[in-house]
């Protein structure tokens, strides 16, 4: 059950986000099931505006990740507070396979490495990123490992045998 402080914070946040992003969809999340209090869905790159709103409200960027769906990527930004009234906000945007979203590293410098990791694993290039190189894989790698089209191991076939 959200506490009073949390509810107030969520309300304020909802208002500032709606003002900053008229085109996005902001819904309350089911914390008990998904672990987030507020969910923001966008269909284009308004990430920087969200990031600025979040920074003004003293949230920190916990992590950024991407998921490879057939036909699109989903970029997910996780924000969280450090107060007693914890409040988690997840911002998702759906982008096409060769889209170039804007970087948020101007607002949160910690995103430099997070976005490099996403580039390294998925091949998603970020606009205006100061230093877009591979992070974890070798510098001369020509593959993006976490794409679904990149090699399935033999183990999966064995698993299919076990489970069927």
């Amino acid at each position: 059950m959200p506490t009073e402080g949390q509810q107030k914070l969520l309300e304020e946040l909802k208002n500032s986000l709606t003002r900053a992003l008229p085109e996005g969809r902001i819904t309350s999340g089911d914390y008990a099931r998904t672990g987030c209090h507020l969910e923001v869905r966008l269909s284009d790159a308004g990430m920087r505006r969200i990031a600025m709103v979040m920074k003004d409200n003293r949230f920190y960027l916990e992590t950024i990740t991407a998921v490879d769906f057939p036909g699109s990527f989903e970029l997910i930004y996780f924000y969280s507070t450090c107060h007693d009234d914890i409040c988690r906000v997840i911002a998702r945007i759906q982008i096409l396979k060769d889209a170039t979203p804007h970087t948020v590293s101007a607002v949160y410098p910690g995103a430099i490495w997070l976005e490099r990791e996403i580039y390294d694993f998925f091949g998603i290039r970020f606009l205006d990123h100061p230093d877009l190189r591979r992070l974890l894989n070798p510098d001369d790698a020509d593959y993006f490992p976490l794409l679904k089209t990149f090699g399935k191991t033999k183990l999966t076939e064995e698993i299919d045998d076990i489970l069927c």
Binding site: A32, R33, T34, G35, C36, R58, Y60, L61, E62, T63, T65, V67, D68, I76, F78, S80, C82, H83, D84, I86, R88, I90, S105, A106, Y108, P109, G110, I112, W113, L114, F121, P130, D131, R134, L135, L136, N137, P138, P145, L146, K148, F150, K152, T153, L155, T156, I159, L163
Partner: protein, 375 residues
């Protein structure tokens, strides 16, 4: 605007030379490569280069069934293996709606806190060894042996555990484990006096760590620093208190916070955290209920389609599992948010302007485990 000096950004200056700290080096904790640009003894720019122990855990997750990813979790951060195990199991239990018996929760908390103590012992003592005092490292390892022996009796492993299961833990603990833990806590409390005498009150140590490697609260929040590194900078944030999970709300413990943000503050936070962990373990042992240690769960679990983000506190900071399930027995995506990833990157902002010796002290005090960054 962005103020980081990336390594190629330094203006051409004849006095500046480049020094590679690592990847093979006696003091980098794991296979870390720190590229330093130095002017004499002063660091002008620093860039960590990671990826030497990248094993592809997140890709492995997409090629295994849910149960088979359990051993991977403890190898991501090998010093907090039990805590990562617990987090993964709790995330899936939340997703599937599985209930965990109370005794299992207590056992999970006891073993996780013992793991936290052993991780802090290693982290602190390795940092002190980097500063130059070789002896406390071995005293800390002596204490750590006791913890590892206790955990080995129960879980079967010393470092990379796979003890938690969906719905509880694998097997029960016995009376000898409880007695041994109590004896260990009494012994460690006595040893703390020695540690404070030898390290904390040593004038050379104080001079090496006071006012060195300061991380301000602003910088910490901008970079997503969590854990003792954040609590040493004055922010009272611990997932166990701010966003309680498991049965942590039932225990009475404090979160140590220091304001200075220097190396000494982080060291003191870690020492105080060990004492708080001991309090938690004692309370848990006193109130340990009887009952089963694992609820009845099908052999292969079938989580519903959906996603969940579950956060918990390891020895290094806030960890998060972001799990996407498509309704099958194989995960669609598992993303592990590790604290060392953000904690290490903050060094690009903190190190410039310090001496090399201070750079080593700061790197040690952040307590990085590189496999956690590389996954």
């Amino acid at each position: 605007m962005l103020n980081i000096k990336t390594i190629d950004d330094t203006s051409i200056n004849e006095r500046v030379y480049q020094l590679n700290l690592g990847p093979q080096h006696p003091s980098t904790h794991g296979v870390l490569h720190l590229l330093l640009k130095l002017d004499g003894e002063v660091v002008v720019a620093a860039e960590p280069i990671v990826g030497y122990s990248h094993r592809g855990h997140e890709k492995m997750a997409e090629n295994r069934i849910w149960e088979q990813f359990l051993p991977n979790t403890s190898r991501i951060d090998y010093l907090s293996g039990l805590i990562y195990n617990q987090g993964y199991c709790m995330a899936l239990e939340k997703l599937c709606g599985i209930e965990v018996p109370e005794r299992a929760e207590y056992i999970r908390v006891i073993t996780s806190e013992l793991n936290r103590i052993s991780s802090h012992l290693l982290g602190i003592m390795a940092f002190v060894m980097d500063i130059g005092a070789f002896t406390p490292f071995l005293y800390g390892f002596d204490d750590r042996e006791h913890v590892l022996d206790l955990l080995e009796r129960v879980t079967g492993s010393r470092l990379t555990y796979c003890y938690n299961r969906f719905g509880g833990v694998r097997n029960d603990i016995d009376q000898e484990f409880c007695d041994g833990t109590r004896r260990f806590i009494a012994r460690l409390r006595g040893r703390f006096k020695d540690y404070h005498n030898l390290i904390t009150e040593n004038i050379i140590f104080i001079k090496r760590t006071r006012g060195v490697g300061i991380i301000t609260e602003e910088t910490a929040l901008e970079f997503g620093v969590t854990g003792p590194s954040l609590r040493g900078s004055g922010v009272n944030y611990d997932v166990r208190k701010n966003e309680p999970y498991s049965i942590y709300p039932e225990f009475d413990f404090e979160i140590p916070v220091r304001k200075e943000g220097d190396v000494m503050a982080r060291y003191q936070v870690r020492m105080a955290e060990m004492e708080q962990s001991m309090n938690i373990i004692e309370q848990a042992l006193d109130n340990l209920p009887q009952g089963p240690v694992r609820s009845h769960v099908p052999r292969f679990i079938d989580p519903p389609a959906g996603d969940i983000y579950f956060a918990f506190e390891s020895a290094r900071g806030a960890v998060g599992y972001y799990i996407v399930s498509d309704g099958t027995r194989i995960p669609y995506r598992i993303k592990v948010r590790t604290p060392s990833f953000s904690n290490l990157f903050v060094l690009t902002r903190v190190l410039p302007g310090n001496f090399i010796a201070d750079a080593i002290a700061t790197l040690g005090s952040i307590d990085v485990v590189v496999p956690e960054i590389d996954r």
